[in-house]
């Protein structure tokens, strides 16, 4: 679907991106992860043919983006970090303009606009002036203009930028819907955002791809261990301990630590304090032991209120990776 070879961009004498080479298959949802200023936006703008590469080649479905940028632009929909909205137009007129300028004929645009407005939940905003829309709606209009011509390749640069938590959830749902019909590239500096929507990640630093793979592959490669976060309600033994003069939480924490340490494959159990009234623990395991941990806790009479693979450790490793530190040298120190 997309093949980049030695793609490089210089701004003056300063190298912003590259050389980077990668390949993306049809129908994949790919995330570009990196801190601000590492070249994510520049890379995506080159793929969208907004910027010309200084060197290298970019081929999408057999069309060379350097030699035939117009051909490639027909295949691409692009949502920049700041949506390119004409404030004086209505949503409907803006989408009509975006479709027409992307090469659609008038009847096709008229058929497509209601579909796109339904997809992005904008139907009731059809006659609203863009200037009067909230940030969340403006972002949706930005997505709508990117998909109005039904592109093969959809590029979203920081699609949740500036959105509140509720709008972020809505945007993620919208993006998941889009991944069913398009090959999607998403950039972000936020690992949870990318890992929830993407099936493949590229980690960028200083304009270069320093790691790639699925989140599981990357965590397996970067971390020697897996980490599970679990929160439990005090069990029967805690009540007995409290009656004998101790505190319920101390007794439970000690007994849970002892219980989990005996589960096969568990390397270390650390208390992580309180989690909304429950006792929280971080458990280091050699492999995926979530089922065993859950079973041991339930059989011992503890109420399990949360049990999930920890992302915090992986996020820290990504940060260390992109900040050019000594890799995951302190990977044995579990963040609380």
């Amino acid at each position: 679907m997309l093949q980049a070879s030695g793609l490089t961009k210089y701004f003056g004498g300063k190298r912003a991106v590259g050389p980077v080479s990668f390949q993306i298959d049809q129908g994949r949802t790919v995330g570009f992860l990196g801190l601000n200023g590492v070249g994510k936006t520049t890379l995506l703008r080159m793929i969208a043919c907004d910027l010309r590469p200084s060197a290298g080649s970019l081929v999408v479905r057999g069309i060379d983006g350097v030699r035939d940028p117009h051909g490639l632009r027909r295949l691409v929909g692009f949502l920049p970090q700041y949506p390119p909205l004409y404030e004086d137009m209505t949503v409907g007129d803006y989408l009509r303009f975006a479709g027409r300028i992307r090469g659609m004929d008038a009847p096709s645009v008229e058929r497509r606009i209601p579909e796109v407005e339904d997809l992005t939940h904008l139907r009731h905003m059809h006659n609203e002036i863009v200037r009067h829309l909230s940030h969340g709606y403006r972002q949706r209009v930005g997505v709508a203009q990117a998909v109005v011509h039904d592109p093969d390749l959809l590029i979203l640069d920081e699609p949740t930028h500036g959105l509140d938590p509720a709008q972020i959830v809505e945007m993620r749902t919208l993006i998941r819907g889009l991944t069913e019909h398009h090959t999607v590239l998403i950039s972000s500096h936020n690992l949870p955002e990318i890992s929830e929507t993407c099936d493949h990640l590229f980690v960028l630093d200083a304009g270069e791809i320093i790691a790639s793979g699925t989140e599981q592959e990357l965590s397996g490669r970067l971390l020697q261990s897996r980490y599970v976060e679990v929160s439990v309600l005090p069990g029967r033994d805690a009540v007995a301990a409290a009656g004998a003069g101790g505190t319920a939480s101390d007794a439970s924490a000690a007994s849970v630590t002892g219980l989990l340490s005996n589960v096969p494959g568990v390397k270390q159990v650390s208390s992580a304090g309180r989690d909304d009234g429950a006792l929280a623990f971080v458990i280091e395991t050699a492999d995926d032991r979530r089922a065993d941990i859950c079973k041991a806790l339930v059989e011992a009479g503890y109420g399990v209120v949360r049990l999930e693979q920890s992302r915090r450790k992986l996020e820290n490793v990504f940060l260390e990776l992109v900040q050019g530190s000594e890799g995951a040298s302190d990977r044995d120190h579990i963040p609380s």
Binding site: F11, A48, C49, D50, L51, R52, S54, H70, G71, R73, R74, V76, F78, P80, Y82, P83, P84, L85, Y86, E87, D88, M89, F97, A98, R100, I101, R102, G103, Q145
Partner: protein, 243 residues
């Protein structure tokens, strides 16, 4: 051509729905009307031949058309860059020259509308005196050509920067320099004076239109200036993609 038409319609609608376009039109027509009143109808007007009054009208209007052309052109590309909307055009399958031409033509149509609204003034001369319709027609052709040339300069200035104020300053400076070529050519020695007179956007090239004389030389000059600055604007847009 299709992309030019789409951009033309969008930009023309933007002029017609924004207060800026109407403010420019109102100010230009007000000043033009006051000047016309002072020179043709007012108590200080004195006795003049109708053709002379018409020539003075075209002289005044040409300066106002030039100012209006700079005013309506500065937003064309600088605003797109300032609001990040140029990305939509840059990632669409259209050429830079289509972007520039679509925007130029919309501004030209709007400016022509403003210019034509001044047509009541030659009609007033016709009511009270005797003028040739050919003189009126040639004068307006001159105004359109001059307006187009200054618009092209403004589009080029607008392509250079994302700041509209800076674009306005650059457009005014380029236009002002090309206006100044004519008075300068009258006070310096040849051969430089001949070069300056040939390049001057007003003076020698507009004086024919002013008195109703259509010369191919002047038409070609204005079309060449328009083409040159539109080409420069297109090349500037292209170059910015490499930055």
């Amino acid at each position: 051509m299709r992309a030019i038409g789409i951009i033309f319609r969008r930009e023309l609608a933007a002029y017609l729905t924004s207060p800026m376009g109407f403010v420019v039109a109102a100010v230009v027509l007000l000043i033009d009307g006051l000047l016309f009143y002072g020179q043709a109808l007012g108590p200080a007007a004195g006795e003049r031949l109708s053709a002379e009054v018409l020539a003075r009208f075209f002289y005044n209007t040409s300066g106002l058309v030039a100012i209006a052309a700079v005013a309506v052109s500065i937003r064309l590309l600088a605003e797109e860059r300032q609001l990040d909307t140029l990305t939509l055009l840059n990632t669409s399958p259209i050429r830079d020259r289509e972007i520039v031409l679509g925007k130029f033509l919309s501004a030209f149509a709007f400016l022509s509308g403003i210019t034509l609204l001044s047509f009541y003034m030659p009609l007033l001369i016709l009511v009270n005196g005797k003028i040739s319709l050919g003189h009126v027609w040639v004068g307006y052709v001159g105004l359109f050509l001059l307006g187009g040339a200054v618009l092209a300069i403004g589009v080029f200035a607008s392509a250079l920067t994302r700041h509209q104020l800076l674009a306005a300053a650059l457009g005014s400076a380029f236009t002002g320099i090309m206006f100044l070529f004519w008075p300068l050519s009258l006070v310096i020695d040849p051969p430089l004076s001949r070069v300056m007179a040939a390049l001057a956007i007003h003076g020698r090239h507009f004086s024919g239109f002013q008195i109703g004389v259509l010369q191919l030389r002047d038409v070609v000059y204005y079309l060449a200036v328009t083409y040159f600055f539109l080409l420069m604007a297109t090349k500037t847009l292209e170059a910015k993609r490499w930055e």
